[in-house]
């Protein structure tokens, strides 16, 4: 059987040349990749070196309490396309969604990688772990997800927590969280954990995180919440193409009204863009096709922790301190999200008086609507 052979570990360079590309093509790919990751000239050399020398990175991808939207989003990636990721970049040795083997042969494939690549494999986790009732609410192969996570995490090089389930518990952790659905960072200590929240995360963001780890052998720079800054550094509001309407005080009042047809700001019909950190406004979805706001629906804030319990979807995000694109999650955090007075003060400094009046009126309406439920 093939799994008994010793790895010969072809490098990306080998793969590229074998696929009929020239060294020049390879270098231009590295340059593009470096630019994509926001690196300067010396970074290009680093990418080139890494892609010429490294074998395919072993990856174990576990599924717990989830809906597989993360795996589905991952296969939507356009750059790189997932076939190339699977054949050339990583060795996806365990994935319940895609792997050929089932049953004990599947378990064996995971064990093989855990032993052969001890301390070298990346552990990806899709889904939360239910800790209630000794973990019986999620069992695979007769083991609880708690046990499987513990075993697989022990010798992983790093962990990627895919999506909001693994990063913050997502929908099953919404009140009253009946199964005690728990995100990964609360269960695994002493390992680097990259949180890639979103329900799901954007496909190219997922592939981008993988490419970063593969290329540099390091994890990308994370913010104080553990998310890659490259993708979660700005609020959707700050990169929204409808932002100008917000600044001008032009809002959709009701779905499908005249203002909706004109593409005005969706803040008053519940858009959570002002409190959501994600790349939707810049990278957009499905290879730049659209994103929720472009298609007329407000952002629901799916990459934020506890977004299911942070107000209703069609209720205005009444409190959000700190305006301006210079704000990031860390500085906003310091303003203490949720403190109305501080929020309103930061707001007043940074916006003009006319808009401020409008926004304050909206906030009052928002607070009133909060009381409805």
């Amino acid at each position: 059987m093939f799994d008994e052979q010793e790895p010969k570990s072809p490098t990306y360079y080998d793969e590229v040349i074998r696929k009929g590309y020239s060294r020049r093509d390879f270098l231009s790919f590295c340059t593009m990749m470096a630019a994509y990751m926001g690196l300067n000239q010396s970074g290009i050399a680093q990418v080139t070196k890494a892609m010429s020398e490294k074998p395919r990175l072993p990856v174990i991808w576990l599924h717990f309490q989830e809906c597989t939207c993360c795996s589905e989003s991952f296969i939507r990636s356009s750059h790189p396309i997932v076939a190339d990721v699977l054949l050339d970049k990583i060795s996806l040795d365990y994935s319940e969604t895609l792997m050929a083997a089932s049953g004990f042969q599947a378990e064996q494939a995971m064990l093989n990688t855990m032993e052969k690549y001890k301390g070298e494999y990346i552990l990806c986790v899709e889904g939360s772990v239910p800790t209630a009732a000794d973990g019986v609410y999620c069992m695979i192969g007769g083991k609880t997800s708690m046990q499987i996570l513990e075993e697989a995490a022990e010798n992983a090089k790093a962990i990627i927590a895919w999506g909001s389930c693994a990063s913050n518990g997502c929908v099953q952790a919404a009140k009253p969280n009946p199964t005690s659905a728990t995100p990964i960072h609360k269960l695994v200590k002493g390992k680097p954990i990259i949180k890639v929240p979103g329900c799901p995360p954007i496909g190219e963001v997922m592939a981008g995180v993988i490419v970063h780890v593969v290329t540099f052998g390091t994890i990308p720079e994370l913010d104080s919440s553990g998310r890659p800054k490259a993708f979660y550094g700005k609020r959707v509001h700050d990169s929204c193409y409808r932002r100008a309407y917000y600044d001008a005080g032009l809002f959709v009042e009701s779905f499908d009204d005249e203002n909706a047809k004109k593409g005005y700001c969706l803040y008053k019909v519940g858009c959570k863009g002002p409190v959501t950190y994600n790349a939707c406004g810049t990278m957009k979805w499905n290879n730049g096709t659209s994103f929720p706001i472009q298609s007329g629906h407000g952002c629901i804030g799916c990459s934020e922790a506890n977004y299911w319990d942070s107000g209703r979807i069609y209720e205005r995000a009444s409190i959000f301190p700190g305006f301006g694109i210079e704000a990031n999650a860390d500085t906003i955090g310091k303003v203490a999200l949720g403190v109305t007075v501080a929020g309103a003060a930061a707001h007043a400094v940074m916006t003009n008086i006319r808009k401020n009046t409008i926004i304050n009126a909206i906030e009052e309406e928002g607070k009133a609507s909060e009381k409805e439920l």
């Binding site: 059987m1 599924h63 717990f64 309490q65 054949l87 895609l98 042969q105 979805w285 629906h297 979807i313």
Partner: protein, 574 residues
């Protein structure tokens, strides 16, 4: 003596499924299907804004993404008496069609193909012969000897690396694989092409719903306003984009999926008499052409077939207390009225009660409750739902388009109509309905264009969006056809909040444990008599299970931990 085998995890599905089977004389003598993960979403929905429900239940499943959101807004609209504008219905149909085209292709190539296609054997294929074969069955352009030769080299190098990734530990070389090397190579080539193609077709959902997976829906219509002369909104560029994607999608289905399906099926005709199972088929119907209030206008007609008797279609009524009922006899829940009673979803009651072995364990005790799935029944009958049920009900209803594709497939394969009641029939039905849906999608698109041309740009009915306009109490049912089969949500709204929300989901029908009478559900019934040549490599078992396209996260998500009655509503007026 029979031998008990355990397959857990069943991979290439959505979610967590375990099958235990008793093998005797090379055949499955008995089988037990168990769902092993639960999230209790219905409990989480209580007290929330009904207009938000689509987002919560959308997260039931990211594979059949959008289908729960669609059925959810229908349930709320039913409760509130909202009729959505025709354009919204058409956009929803287009998103539905997108999901089917995507999901069925991904199922065939990425979840099911490796049960039939021996990936490693593809290395032995002659690229020139492969090219000739490919060109003889399809005009699809990627079919030159050089194309197949390059692919083969790429795979050889991959295999030689020793890092087999997703192909590691497959049952390669198993005698049940019957395809010539050249067909295996075509299958592998299209595995990779389909992986690239699938990310394109879903862009239709991104255009109308903002993203995929998990696009946005809206109670009362859709949020994507039509603004022909605006930079935002649905304008000529967006519509042209949709048309392009629909045309490309239809071409892929007709020139890649269907020729491959027929080529593979022609080598596995024996599977036309294996895995038939229940012979009872249930369809709720979907794809309205005259508004959701007119089921006669559905492209997928509703109905039930019993005992493979396609001469009679039984009517189905989801609002009637005695039609759909759920049992917990062999599930890890309890009912106040005891383990053996059946309850309509509106009377839904349950206390989660895990009584299985303490993990880690080797075997379940299948003499006792053995699954987190409840067991739904229609008028007491175990029913199969899914593409085969839809094709059979359409066929039995005498709809010409169904008859045309089914009869052609039977004729091309040279098999009798009874071959439909099988593992192969299930897999073929999925492909055939993809052809229909791709065709219908163009009709929906043309109708949308015609409406806009005639000046109707309405996309959402918002007069009842404000909760203050609602009655104090209301109840509704939303239903439809998920890719995996009949799906319904029941909602109970009180004081502007969700008082109760119940889902009965396709895979719950198919994958559930036995009922109070000991009747098997579809998976367990279909596995009976399935041959298993090597109990350590039960590829045959996977074929039959995968033919249903399991979606476990959908099927398990229920109930109040405290065991309270979730609802006491019994009957809904028509």
């Amino acid at each position: 003596m029979s031998q008990r085998i355990v397959v857990d995890p069943i991979t290439r599905i959505e979610g967590h499924l375990r099958v235990e089977a008793d093998i005797e004389n090379g055949k499955i003598k008995d089988a037990y299907s168990s769902g092993t993960m639960v999230r209790l979403l219905e409990e989480i929905l209580k007290g929330r804004d009904p207009r938000d429900a689509w987002a919560f239940v959308g997260r039931v499943c990211g594979v059949c993404t959008s289908t729960h959101s669609l059925v959810s807004v229908r349930a709320v609209e039913d409760a509130l008496g909202i009729v959505v504008p025709p354009n919204a219905e058409l956009v929803r149909n287009l998103m539905f069609a997108t999901l089917y085209m995507h999901d069925h292709v991904v199922h065939f190539y990425h979840l099911h193909a490796m049960d039939w296609v021996d990936v490693v054997n593809a290395l032995k294929a002659d690229p020139k012969k492969t090219s000739e074969l490919a060109q003889s069955i399809s005009p699809w352009p990627k079919s030159s000897p050089g194309y197949f030769s390059d692919l083969q080299k790429r795979i050889k190098k991959f295999v030689d690396s020793g890092q087999l990734g997703i192909f590691a530990n497959g049952y390669w070389g198993h005698p049940a694989y019957k395809l010539p090397a050249e067909v295996n190579l075509i299958g592998l080539a299209h595995y990779l092409e389909a992986l690239e193609w699938q990310k394109e077709i879903v862009k239709i959902q991104a255009i109308f719903g903002g993203k995929n997976p998990h696009p946005n829906y809206l109670v009362g219509g859709m949020a994507c306003a039509v603004g022909l002369d605006e930079m935002s909104g649905i304008n000529a560029e967006r519509l042209a984009y949709v048309k392009q994607l629909l045309d490309d999608g239809k071409r892929f289905i007709e020139q890649v999926y269907i020729p491959d399906l027929m080529a593979v099926a022609s080598f596995y005709k024996d599977w036309g008499s294996i895995g038939g199972g229940l012979g009872n088929y249930l369809v709720y119907g979907d794809l309205p052409t005259n508004g959701f209030g007119d089921p006669k206008g559905f492209k997928f007609p509703a109905g039930a077939i019993l005992n493979k008797d396609i001469s009679k279609i039984h009517e189905v009524d989801l609002r009637k207390d005695e039609e759909v009922q759920e049992f917990v006899t062999n599930s890890w829940y309890s009912y106040e009225g005891g383990k053996d009673v059946g309850l309509h979803p509106w009377k839904g009651e349950s206390k989660i009660n895990y009584t299985g072995p303490k993990p880690p364990f080797k075997n379940l005790n299948t003499e006792e409750p053995y699954s987190y799935l409840k067991t739904p029944r229609w008028k007491g009958h175990a029913m199969e739902v899914g593409p085969l049920s839809r094709m059979l009900v359409g066929y039995a209803s005498g709809r010409p388009e169904f008859k045309e594709v089914v009869d052609k497939a039977l004729k091309d394969l040279g098999v009798p109509v009874t071959a439909l009641f099988s593992t192969l029939g299930r897999t073929a039905a999925r492909g055939l309905e993809s052809v229909l849906v791709a065709e219908w999608a163009l009709e929906f698109y043309n109708q949308l264009i015609a409406n806009i041309k005639n000046g109707d740009t309405r996309m959402a009915e918002q007069s009842k969006f404000d909760p203050s306009t609602w009655e104090k109490k209301s109840i509704g049912v939303g239903y439809g056809e998920a890719p995996r089969g009949a799906l319904a949500h029941w909602i109970n709204i009180e004081d502007q909040k969700i008082a109760n929300y119940q889902l009965v989901v396709p895979t719950t029908w198919n994958a559930s444990p036995r009922d109070a009478k000991g009747q098997r559900s579809a998976y367990e019934a279909a596995l009976l008599d399935t041959p298993v040549a090597d109990p350590n490599q039960p590829v045959e078992l996977l074929r039959t299970i995968h033919s249903f396209d399991p979606c476990m996260a959908c099927s398990v998500h229920l109930y109040d931990e405290e065991g309270k009655h979730l609802s006491r509503i019994n009957v809904v007026g028509e």
